[in-house]
């Protein structure tokens, strides 16, 4: 049965392999040229939403309880773990999404209010809202005519 499935999958596997190799080559090139830092896990985005910074990270299959967030006034660290998803009694044909243990830190461009951080997990995407410290809030300055 195992070989049966594999045979049917073979042409796709060949394309997959080519794609992976190409990705690797391009990544290596980017890194050697210093164009892009190595992509770490989880993939994330940081957004400046005026009153707060919003960090989103893709953590599919990671349970709430396995995520830990720590913050200082200018940095944020996400640590977590995705447990092996291989169910019992199943033979493995292909495993691209392995178990992973990760830790990633982000330096924030301005001081944040650590007490007011909120985090939510939805559809495998972690969203952390980091309100800016009053000191870092933008202030309007009126210009006086002299």
């Amino acid at each position: 049965m195992l070989t049966y499935w594999m045979d049917l999958n073979d042409p796709f596997r060949a394309f997959d392999n080519v794609r992976r190799r190409m990705d690797q080559v391009l990544r290596d090139y980017d890194e050697s040229a210093g164009l892009r830092a190595r992509t770490s896990y989880p993939r994330a985005s940081l957004r400046d939403a005026k009153e707060a910074f919003v960090l989103t990270a893709e953590v599919p299959g990671v349970a709430e309880a396995d995520l830990k967030i720590t913050a200082t006034h200018d940095s944020l660290t996400i640590t977590g773990e995705r447990k092996a998803s291989a169910p019992e009694g199943y033979a493995v044909h292909r495993q691209e999404r392995g178990a992973i243990r990760f830790a990633r830190s982000f330096a924030l461009p301005a001081k944040i209010d650590v007490e007011k951080i909120t985090a939510g997990l939805k559809l495998g995407v972690l969203t952390v809202t980091l309100p800016k410290h009053p000191e870092s809030q933008p202030k309007a300055i009126t210009v006086k005519a002299q």
Partner: protein, 128 residues
């Protein structure tokens, strides 16, 4: 050889895409036991109503799209608004009427039950 021919003559079942969003092949796990195949696919940020699973002519296609992120002010982003797409060939032993899918924490769980009659069987060799 038959596989090669099949690829060449294969007509794309999906229409020409109307957007220029990047397409990502999601990472998948494929498992099998004596009753079913189990496919797990990482689809972070996708809601269940934007997942399309089609089973046609022995092929299972999986398509999903992330909603456009209209928020601005990005300081750095590794996440792109993209479509997920992946195609699998499924053995004939799968009972296509009973395929079930569920989305849990951004992971798609696809259960493909096997038809009873094509279960594993032992063929004994007779001696003359």
């Amino acid at each position: 050889m038959s596989q090669v021919n099949d690829i060449v003559t294969h007509k794309p079942s999906a229409a020409e895409p109307t957007t220029t969003r990047p397409v990502i092949a999601p990472a998948v796990d494929i498992y099998e036991n004596e009753r079913e195949y189990l496919v797990l696919a990482d689809l972070p940020g996708v809601s269940h109503d934007s997942v399309q699973i089609r089973f046609e002519g022995g092929e299972l296609s999986l398509a999903a799209s992330r909603p456009d992120d209209k928020a601005g002010g990005y300081l750095g982003s590794e996440i792109v608004d993209a479509d997920y797409r992946r195609l699998f060939r499924i053995p004939e032993t799968v009972d296509s009427d009973k395929i079930e899918a569920r989305l849990v924490d951004g992971v798609l769980h696809l259960v493909l039950p096997k038809t009873g009659k094509a279960g594993p069987r032992q063929i004994s060799v007779k001696m003359h």
